[in-house]
C-alpha cells in the first residue's frame, strides 16, 4: 500500500502535527542537549583521567582519597535539580495532553485483531482511516474488541493503550494538513505490525463534504456498498482481493463459483450460501490448510442488506 504522507519519516522526528507535538519536541531537544552535556562530562572526564593518570611504572604512588563531601553533595544535588526540573516541565505538557477538551469532535475508535475501526456520531463507519478537520479539537473514545492494542500517532506525539472492557481517550488539535501514520503500539499477535491506519487532516469544508458523502452509503449500488463494508470491517487484513496470495485466510480473488477444498468434508462450490455461512459461522467449514478458530464471527454485526452487499462485492473479485 502506498502511504503518502507529509510526516517525512526520514527525518529524526516525524513532522510535528500539533502544538503539543512542538512542545514535546522542545522538551526532548532540551533533554537531548542536557544528556549530551552530561555524557561529555562523564565520558570526557573518564577518557581524560584514563589518559592523564595512565600507569607509568609498576610502583606508581596513588593518592589516598576516600571521599569529598562537598563534591559528592554537588553531584547529587545538581542532577536532582535537573531531574526535578524536567519532571515539572514534563508534567506541564502531560497535564495538557490528559485534560480532555470540552466540545471536542468525538470519534469512536475500536481496536481489534488486526485493524482499526472508526465510528462517527453521524453513523459513518470507516476502516483504518480517520478523517478530521484541521484546527479543531478532536477527541477519540477508544475501546478494544479483543486484546490490548495501542493507538499511536507519531506525528502528534500521542499514544494511548486501547483496553477491552473499558474506554480510554486521546485528544488532539491538528494544525497541519496531510496524512499521518497511525500504528498499533501494544503487541497483539500475528499482525500487530500490520495494524496500520491513516489519519487524514483536511480543511473543515472538505471534512463536512466527506462526512456527507460517507453517510450516503445507503444509496450506493450493492457491490460498492459491499466494498465499503469490506473496508470498514477490515476483511483485507486477512483476505487478499487482487490476487491469489494468502495473508491469514484464503484469498477471495476469483473465489466465487470456484471449488473449495474443506478440511474433513467433501469439496464445496463457493456460492452465496457458503459465503454467508463463512461470514456468520466461520468455523463450520475450514478450508484445507488453514487453522480453525482464527476468523472471528460477524454474527450480530451485519444486517441482511450488508450481508448481501458483501456477497455481491465478492462476486466482483475477478
Amino acid at each position: 500500500m502506498m502511504w503518502f504522507n507529509l510526516a517525512q519519516a526520514q527525518s529524526f522526528m516525524p513532522t510535528e502535527g500539533t502544538k503539543i507535538a512542538t512542545q514535546v519536541d522542545n522538551l526532548y531537544a532540551f533533554l537531548l542537549l542536557a544528556s549530551f552535556v552530561s555524557c561529555v562530562i562523564l565520558i570526557g572526564g573518564m577518557v581524560y583521567f584514563v589518559w592523564k593518570y595512565r600507569r607509568k611504572t609498576d610502583h606508581d604512588k596513588t593518592a589516598y582519597i576516600t571521599h569529598n563531601t562537598f563534591l559528592e553533595f554537588l553531584w547529587s544535588f545538581i542532577p536532582l535539580v535537573i531531574f526535578l526540573a524536567v519532571f515539572g516541565w514534563g508534567w506541564y505538557i502531560y497535564h495538557d495532553m490528559r485534560t480532555m477538551p470540552k466540545d471536542a469532535l468525538e470519534v469512536h475508535v475500536f481496536g481489534k485483531q488486526w485493524a482499526w475501526e472508526f465510528e462517527y456520531k453521524s453513523g459513518v463507519k470507516t476502516g483504518n482511516l480517520v478523517v478530521v478537520p484541521v484546527n479543531k479539537d478532536v477527541k477519540l473514545i477508544m475501546t478494544s474488541k479483543d486484546v490490548l492494542h495501542s493507538f499511536y500517532i507519531p506525528s502528534f506525539r500521542i499514544k494511548q493503550d486501547v483496553v477491552p472492557g473499558r474506554y480510554t481517550a486521546l485528544w488532539f488539535n491538528a494544525d497541519k494538513l496531510g496524512e499521518f501514520h497511525v500504528f498499533c503500539a501494544e503487541y497483539c499477535g500475528t499482525q500487530h505490525s500490520g495494524m496500520l491506519a491513516t489519519l487524514k487532516v483536511v480543511p473543515q469544508a472538505e471534512y463536512d463534504a466527506w462526512l456527507e458523502e460517507e453517510s450516503q452509503v445507503g444509496t450506493l449500488p450493492l457491490a460498492k456498498r459491499g466494498e465499503k463494508i469490506f473496508s470498514v470491517k477490515a476483511c483485507a487484513s486477512c483476505h487478499s482481493v487482487a490476487d491469489a496470495s494468502t495473508k491469514v485466510g484464503p484469498s477471495l480473488w476469483k473465489k466465487f463459483a470456484a471449488t473449495e477444498h474443506i478440511e474433513g468434508e467433501p469439496d464445496v462450490n463457493v456460492d452465496e450460501n457458503y459465503l454467508r455461512e463463512s461470514i456468520l459461522t466461520p468455523n463450520a467449514k475450514i478450508t484445507k490448510g488453514f487453522p480453525k478458530g482464527v476468523m472471528p464471527t460477524f454474527q450480530g454485526q451485519l444486517n441482511e442488506t450488508e450481508l448481501n452487499a458483501l456477497i455481491e462485492y465478492i462476486k466482483t473479485l475477478k
Binding site: 596513588t62 582519597i65 536532582l80 500475528t190 505490525s193
Partner: protein
C-alpha cells in the same frame, strides 16, 4: 592491609582437582563449583538467546517477510526475551561471580546454606528444561511480559512457560536468601559492614530485591495460570476482570528485577575500577548506601512502565516523580567511579576496558532512562524502539559488559590460568563497536515512531534497521572471540599467579585457584578492602 593465611595444603590441591568426576560436581556443596556450573549453564542459555536475537535482526534487515513468518517472528521475539531475562541476566552475576566470590570476599568458607545453593542451581535447570519443552509443544508468542488478555487467549503453552518462570524465580529467591544470611552471619572477625567489598554491598542489595520482589512474580504467574485454566476472570475483561491489573502485578516484580540485573554489575565495576586504578574507591559509603537506596526506591516506580496503559494521570505523575529520585543514587555512582581514577594509576587491561565500556554505555542508557521517565516524552517513546535501545544499553551495555569484565578479571583466580590478553581486547572492541552500531540507530528509529515487537515496518525505517542488523553480526563476532579466549585460556593458558592484577580484596590473598575451603585459617580483618596506600 587485610591479613590472611594464604597457602593451600599442598601446592597442587585446589577446589578444581580436590575430587573428580561429573558426579562429584553434580553433588558438590562447594560454592565455587556451583558458580562454575552456573557459568556453563548461563553461557549456554546466552548462546541460545543470542541466536534468537541474530535471527530476529536477520528478519528485520528488510521490510516484509525475510526469513520467517509473522507468527515465527513473534515466537522468536518471545523466547529471546524470556531466555535472556530469566535464564541469563537475572541469575547472571549473582549466581556465577557472586556464588564464587561472595564467601571469599567476606572471609568465609562457604555460603550460609550450601545445600540450598545446589538446589538453586537444580531449580534453574529444571525451570529452563520446562521452558525449552514449550519449543516442542506450542511455542509461546506473548512477549516475555505475558500481557493479558492476549496471554489468556493465545493457544500456546503459556502455562508451562509460566510455571517454568515460577521455578526459576524460586532459584533466584533461594540465592538471595542464602546471600543475605551469608553476609549477616559469616563475615570474618573484623569484617564490619563498612569493610566488605562494594561487590558484596551490591550483591546484598540485590539479594534483598530477590527475596522481596520475586514472590510477587510468583503469585502473578500463578494467577495467570489459574486464569487460563479456570477462567476465573481476574484479568479477563470478558469475565469482569481487569487486564491492567495484570500489568500492575507484573511490573511490581519486574521493575525491581531490572535492578536485580544492574546492581551486581555496578558492584563488579567498583571492583574493577579500584583495582585497575590502584586507588581506593572514591566515596565507598555513598556507593554502598546508593545500592541500598536504589533497591528500596525501586519498589515504588513500577508504574513508569504503564504511563499509557490507562492508569490515571495522577498515578503517572507520582511514578514519574519517584523515578527521578532513583536516578540520583545512580548518578552518584557514575561520578564516584570516575573520581576514583583521579590521581590513580590506570592500566587498560581487558577487564578495565570492559569497565570503561560499561561507564560509556551505561551513561547513555541512564540518561535515556531519565528521558523516558519524563511523562510526555514517554507517551511518544513507549513501546517504540527507543525503549528497546534504552534497555539494551543498560542491560547489555551495562550488565553484560560488567559480567565480561568481571569474568576476565577473576578468570585467573577461578581457573589458575591466564587468558590471551590480545584476543580478550579484540573481543571487547568488536562487542563495544558492534553494540553501538546495533543499538544506537534504534534510538533514532524509536524517535521516528517505529513501534517495538514489529515483524514488518514501513519503508522509511529500512536503512536504520539494516545498519542495526550488521551491528548484531559484529557483536556476535565479539562474543565468539571472547568464547575462544576463554576456551583457549582454559586449555593452554599460562599458570596464573595468586594476584596478577594487584587487587586488595581477600580472594587475591589465596592461591589461584583457591583451595577447597578458601582459607586455612579464618582471616582477621583490620582495614577496608581498597587500601592502596
Amino acid at each position: 592491609m587485610a591479613t590472611a593465611a594464604a597457602h593451600g595444603h599442598s601446592s597442587d590441591k585446589n577446589y578444581l582437582n580436590e575430587t573428580s568426576g561429573i558426579w562429584s560436581w553434580l553433588t558438590t556443596l562447594d560454592h565455587k563449583r556451583i558458580g562454575i556450573m552456573y557459568f556453563i549453564s548461563v553461557m549456554f542459555f546466552f548462546l541460545l538467546g543470542g541466536i534468537m536475537a541474530l535471527l530476529l535482526r536477520l528478519e528485520l534487515m528488510s521490510p516484509g517477510p525475510t526469513i520467517m513468518t509473522a507468527d515465527t517472528y513473534n515466537q522468536v521475539m518471545t523466547y529471546h526475551g524470556a531466555i535472556m531475562v530469566f535464564m541469563v541476566i537475572i541469575p547472571g552475576i549473582p549466581a556465577i561471580l557472586g556464588n564464587f566470590f561472595l564467601p571469599i570476599h567476606i572471609g568465609a568458607k562457604d555460603v550460609a546454606f550450601p545445600k540450598l545453593n545446589l538446589l538453586s542451581w537444580y531449580l534453574l535447570m529444571t525451570g529452563a528444561l520446562l521452558a525449552f519443552s514449550t519449543l516442542f509443544t506450542h511455542k509461546i508468542d506473548t512477549g516475555w511480559t505475558f500481557y493479558t488478555p492476549y496471554s489468556i487467549k493465545t493457544g500456546t503453552s503459556v502455562v508451562t512457560m509460566v510455571i517454568a518462570a515460577f521455578i526459576m524465580g524460586m532459584s533466584s529467591i533461594l540465592t538471595g536468601l542464602n546471600f543475605i544470611a551469608t553476609v549477616h552471619k559469616l563475615r570474618a572477625p573484623g569484617m564490619t559492614m563498612y569493610r566488605i567489598p562494594l561487590f558484596v554491598w551490591a550483591l546484598y542489595s540485590t539479594a534483598i530485591l530477590q527475596v522481596l520482589a520475586t514472590p510477587v512474580l510468583g503469585i502473578t504467574l500463578l494467577l495467570l495460570s489459574v486464569e487460563r485454566a479456570f477462567g476465573v476472570g481476574i484479568f479477563d475483561p470478558a469475565l469482569g476482570g481487569d487486564p491492567v491489573l495484570f500489568q500492575h502485578f507484573f511490573w511490581f516484580y519486574s521493575h525491581p528485577a531490572v535492578y536485580i540485573m544492574i546492581l551486581p554489575a555496578m558492584g563488579v565495576v567498583s571492583e574493577l575500577i579500584a583495582t585497575f586504578s590502584r586507588k581506593t574507591i572514591f566515596g565507598y559509603t555513598a556507593i554502598a548506601y546508593s545500592s541500598l537506596g536504589i533497591a528500596g526506591v525501586s519498589f515504588f516506580v513500577w508504574g513508569h512502565h504503564m504511563f499509557v496503559s490507562g492508569q490515571s494521570a495522577t498515578a503517572g505523575i507520582v511514578f514519574s516523580f519517584i523515578t527521578m529520585l532513583v536516578g540520583v543514587p545512580t548518578a552518584i555512582k557514575m561520578f564516584n567511579w570516575i573520581a576514583t581514577m583521579y590521581k590513580g594509576s590506570v592500566q587498560m587491561q581487558s577487564p578495565m576496558l570492559y569497565a570503561l565500556g560499561f561507564l560509556f554505555l551505561f551513561a547513555i542508557g541512564g540518561v535515556t532512562g531519565i528521558m523516558l521517565a519524563v511523562l510526555p516524552i514517554d507517551v511518544h517513546f513507549h513501546d517504540t524502539y527507543f525503549v528497546v535501545a534504552h534497555f539494551h544499553y543498560v542491560m547489555v551495555g551495562g550488565t553484560l559488559m560488567a559480567i565480561m569484565g568481571g569474568f576476565f578479571y577473576w578468570f585467573p583466580k577461578m581457573f589458575g590460568k591466564m587468558y590471551n590478553e590480545a584476543t580478550a581486547r579484540l573481543s571487547f572492541v568488536f562487542i563495544f563497536i558492534g553494540f553501538n552500531v546495533t543499538f544506537f540507530p534504534q534510538f533514532v528509529l524509536g524517535a521516528m515512531g517505529m513501534p517495538r515487537r514489529y515483524f514488518d515496518y514501513i519503508p522509511a525505517y529500512h536503512s536504520l534497521n539494516t545498519i542495526s542488523t550488521v551491528g548484531s553480526w559484529l557483536i556476535a563476532t565479539g562474543f565468539l572471540i571472547g568464547l575462544y579466549t576463554i576456551i583457549n585460556g582454559l586449555m593452554k593458558g599460562e599458570k596464573a599467579p595468586a594476584n596478577p592484577w594487584g587487587g586488595k580484596t581477600l580472594e587475591w590473598t589465596t592461591t589461584s585457584p583457591p583451595p577447597h575451603f578458601n582459607f586455612d585459617v579464618e582471616p582477621v580483618i583490620t582495614a577496608g578492602p581498597y587500601e592502596y596506600r
